[in-house]
Amino acid sequence: MRSRSLRWRLQAWHALILLVVVAGFGTSFYLLARRAKFDEIDAELLSGARVLEGVLRTGALRGGPLGGLRLPASLTARYAEPGREPYFVIRRFDGSILLADPPDVDAPPDETMRPHHEWRARQRGMLHELSLRGPERSRILVGRSIDRELAGLRLLGLRLALTGLAVFAAGLVGGWWLSSRAVRPIGAMSATLDRITARRLSERIDSAGVDAELEGLATILNEMLGRLETSFEQQAQFTADASHELRTPLSVILTHVELALSRPRETAEYREALAACGRAAGRMKRVVDDLLTLARADAGQLELKRERVDLAAVVEEAVELLDALAERRDVTVETAIEPVEVMGDADGLARVASNLLANAILYNRPGGRVLVTTTREGDEAVLAVIDTGVGISESDLASLFRRFHRADPARSGETGGSGLGLAICRGLVEAHGGQIAVESRLSVGTTVAVRLPADEPAGSAGAKRPSPLAGEGGRRPDEGGSVLL
């Protein structure tokens, strides 16, 4: 429907322009022809009037002989037919008629003549008359019928109109053909696009053999389809991952409930079943909470406070919190903490710190070490977590922050994580106007660095800086670092 309306519009514009051009040409031609014809008549009448004027100058006005005063035969002879002969009227300065031929001719004086006019022509119905100033303020009016010339002009006008119409019609047909041709590839494109649905995003528009502009469009559309396809795949993957993440705990609940209800049980058995269900439900809750957090981050609706937060304190707390886990894993956690303040949400930052630290501990080797540092670099607060762990392969590094991605898929049960931790970390850091970068070497270790806009030192708090939470102040996270996220 859209391509059709474009075509109609093209056609309408084409018709309009064609009409203007054809009408313009026709009218100009007609006007020029008409002007030439009238100039010719004027010249002829003027020559007659000049003859009369010459005679008058011989003294006719002062009582000289008038009998011989005639229009030259050369003029009259051309209009020999009755009713078409030229006529003339000579008026004295007071308007009284000196002489008229034929004597009863009805030709009123030309009132439109102005003092600067030497002569002036006018048309009166089928008559064309020319008034000339004669000697001693007399006026000489010569006129004749121009019905034949007018008929000729009408005929010319008619022919021009018909020719114009024919040209216009031919133009319309040509235009229709042209617009069809121009619109056909668009139609083909839209048919292709029409076929492409969420299920068949892999199809592409055939851009071979179409015009350059449309080829460009097709390329752009194809690129867009590519991005859409990727995004759809990611979406589908995400949904599959999310449901996958919920299926295992759901199985635990179903299994234990079914088992517990299958026959009468001891109280202790019910307790055990309920405890298993509780653990599974807890895991589901974590996944659901994390999904919600991510959805909010995606929508830019993370509710973050904006308060002065001592990053060092946040980190120390996280280290303390994960002390037990580190001990269980036989991993030593060391800190090199420099006090540095940022403006942000303490809970959010604590979550980032403990998440990164937990990963560094979990993906480490027994006897391994983790170093957590906070430093101030220029106007940035940097939190770095460096581990001597298993490292991350280059291929995994790229998908590290993908939702539900796990370096080792089987670790989910062990850690109780949802697989959303790093994605949430990134969302939180970005919401703080910061960026997060990861460097890793297999079996050497991984360094995760979080850079946040630092707050001014307490002393110079008066100097206002842009809010790190306002999107503008934040750096885009795609600069610097070895992997970028």
Partner: protein
Amino acid sequence: MRVLVIEDEPDLARGLVQALREGGYATDWAADGAEGLEKATASEYDAIVLDLMLPRLPGLAVLRRLRVLRKTPVLILTARDGVGDRVEGLDAGADDYLVKPFELAELLARLRALIRRSVGLADAVIAIGDVAIDVATKTVTRAGVPVPLTAREFALLELLAHHRGRLVSRSTIYDGLFGDDDDTLSNVVEVHVSHLRKKLGRDLIVTRRGQGYMIEHEER
């Protein structure tokens, strides 16, 4: 009947193992892929329940390596329900496929069907003379009259019936009836055999002294 569960989520594994034991299977548990493969190849199981996402060795790898050595029926448990995932699992040598979350009743039914097919039985009811063993409902009738059996007695009868015409060694029976960590005291095979003879007739089960037991082919 002896079943191995290879599942890393401890709560799920506990539930499965308990359900299978209550269903009359001697059940062992392996918590990761490597341990699972080791157990699956070390002894003869009637069926294996295999999770796909496992630490140390992924489920599909376990399956491929197992298939080189054994034909044990394998039922895959997985949280992935894509057609591609199912095809991959079945192509790797799985016999059946169950997507989480599943119901225990279905898991047990599929397992019964797997075991039945693996010993070449199309029907859930095995008839031996006037004794009819319904594997699905775990009931036994003699001349149409229901005979109440304990779970162990039924398991022993089912094992012998599945291996009908073949001698079943004492150790196979022991393995089939009791899991690795089964610390029950009522594990004396002779006691169960004598109970079965009392309930179903003396000559149903033949003793080969020093070798084991068997149910003979149709001669009676």
